[in-house]
């Protein structure tokens, strides 16, 4: 079985680590990982690019530019992807120096697009492995490998919501 996911991250740090873990984790499913800093993707690769099952936008809360870059890239995503094939991955949320406004903006964005928002710890090996495992579970659903679920149904269950209380529930 062949699946393919696109990781988009402005800093290009976490995506490499994630990619290494993801491709080595699965034995019975062949996972292709494509890395990019931003969208749009270069036209030259269109011929060879496989069908993308999941697009993951990685936002590092320590950098303002990370979020801005994702906002700009979102314009280039085909609307069909938002029905369960897009998800946001946030790193650095535990860092005390990060302002809560930024996280709030990311949550607002994810809510408005009805996409799931995942949190990841990128500094430790366990953190990377955990994030990779979660992504793989989502990827298997969106690729159609899980018989009882589709990407759309999963994202409906797991999508990000904003509660009125700022300290509110984390997905």
């Amino acid at each position: 079985c062949l699946t393919s996911t696109q990781l988009v991250e402005n800093e290009e740090q976490f995506q490499k680590k994630l990619a290494d873990v993801i491709v080595n984790a699965e034995k019975d499913v062949s996972v292709g990982v494509r890395l990019a800093r931003r969208l749009p993707l270069p036209v030259e690769n269109e011929e060879t690019r496989p069908c993308i099952d999941l697009v993951v936008f990685i936002i590092n809360l320590s950098f303002e530019r990370s979020f801005q870059s994702v906002e700009l890239s979102l314009k280039y995503v085909d609307p069909g992807f938002f029905l369960g094939k897009v998800c946001f991955l946030v790193t650095g949320a535990r860092c005390w120096s990060v302002s809560s406004d930024r996280l709030q903006s990311v949550r607002k964005l994810a809510t408005s697009l009805r996409c799931p928002l995942l949190y990841a710890e990128d500094q430790t090996v366990e953190g990377v492995n955990t994030a990779a495992a979660r992504l793989l579970r989502v990827l298997k659903v969106t690729a159609g490998l899980t018989p009882w679920a589709t990407g759309l149904s999963l994202s409906t269950l797991t999508r990000c919501t904003l509660s009125s209380d700022l300290e509110g529930d984390f997905d």
Binding site: Q6, A19, N24, V33, L35, A36, P42, E44
Partner: protein, 338 residues
């Protein structure tokens, strides 16, 4: 025209291929340009020679010899060149030592000078300064390093008071016209020397992209693919062209002194001033060139690399004064050498 000049001219006209002859004659400058255009270079050499000879204002054999020299320089043709090596430059060092000590003690009495030649052709000078009332201060010496075959001098711990004296002594001892500040400074002598003499690994603009295999540290899984690999390679290439690659000399700072007009939007009071907006911008890092290379290759700084940054390696400096140049219609400021 006397016999020797005639023979030389005849030989040159005969030997030079017709296609190049026009160029050679033009460089020679003895045939007026107008008449040179009228000459028909497709005729036989004999006829050509007569034409050229009649057009020449010949004064001496020297001019013909010069012409044959020009031609030879342009086509150093069939023989074999051999390389030779000047050895034992001790005479030069002795002269330099004597001259320098003499000049400096002329300019300022009560100074202690020690000169030593190092293995790598560098001459080290240690100077302890004193004045009429004090003995030389051995606790705060100035060190000077000079490579005799190069025009470069490196100075450590020189006060502004003694600067003109040292410069004067060096200029006279090395028989040069003048000495000026290179606007390059750093903590490591070997680094700034290598940087100035460009003896570090540089990347030159190439038509063909560097092979990707060079830059991959470990074999990556074939399932992982980078979308923007080509652009990344281009960025890396431009970064290495601008800042060198591999083990580059360690610079710690780059300073830009701005004396330009303020041109931001929004701030009315600053915008309309007549006098320049003075600012000092300083970049510092443990290894500046590596940091700047990373900025460009990671996409943080835009490509092509701005000349403000690439001047660091192009001009071998790390202190720049930037002023406005030209009339008001251009919004670019140019980097000026101070």
């Amino acid at each position: 025209m006397d016999e020797t000049t005639r023979t030389v001219l005849q030989r040159v006209v005969r030997k030079v291929p017709a296609t190049r002859l026009r160029e050679v004659l033009r460089t020679w400058g003895r045939v007026p340009a107008r008449q040179l255009d009228l000459l028909d270079f497709s005729t036989s050499k004999f006829v050509l020679f007569e034409d050229v000879r009649s057009l020449c204002e010949v004064n001496s054999a020297l001019t013909e010899l010069l012409m044959s020299l020009f031609h030879f320089i342009g086509n150093p043709a069939q023989g074999v060149w051999r390389a030779c090596h000047l050895t034992e430059p001790d005479v030069e060092l002795r002269q330099f030592k004597e001259q320098f000590k003499a000049r400096l003690t002329e300019l300022i009495s009560n100074v202690s000078v020690k000169i030593k030649k190092h293995d790598d052709e560098a001459v080290w000078i240690r100077i302890a300064w004193g004045d009429h009332f004090h003995r030389p201060n051995q606790l705060k010496p100035t060190y000077v390093v000079h490579h005799l075959q190069t025009p470069y001098v490196f100075v450590y711990n020189l006060s502004t008071k003694h600067k003109p004296l040292l410069y004067q002594a060096l200029v006279l001892a090395t028989r040069h016209g003048s000495m000026k500040d290179s606007h390059l400074s750093g903590k490591s002598l070997t680094s700034i020397r290598d940087f100035l003499m460009r003896s570090y690994q540089q990347a030159f603009p190439t038509k063909y992209a560097r092979p990707l295999q060079e830059k991959n540290t470990a074999p990556t899984n074939p399932n992982i693919e980078k979308e923007h690999a080509e652009q990344e390679e281009k960025r890396l290439q431009l970064a290495c062209e601008a800042f060198g690659e591999g083990n580059v000399p360690r610079l710690e700072t780059a300073t830009y002194k701005l004396e330009t007009r303020y041109r931001g939007s929004g701030n009315e009071t600053l915008n309309n001033r007549e006098e320049p907006f003075r600012a000092l911008i300083k970049f510092s890092s443990a290894n500046l060139l590596v940091s700047l290379n990373h900025c460009v290759s990671a996409g943080m700084a835009e490509t092509p690399v701005t000349p403000l940054l690439s001047s660091i390696t192009q001009k071998g400096k790390n202190y720049f004064v930037i002023t406005d140049k030209g009339s008001g219609n251009s919004s670019q400021s140019m980097v000026q050498k101070k």
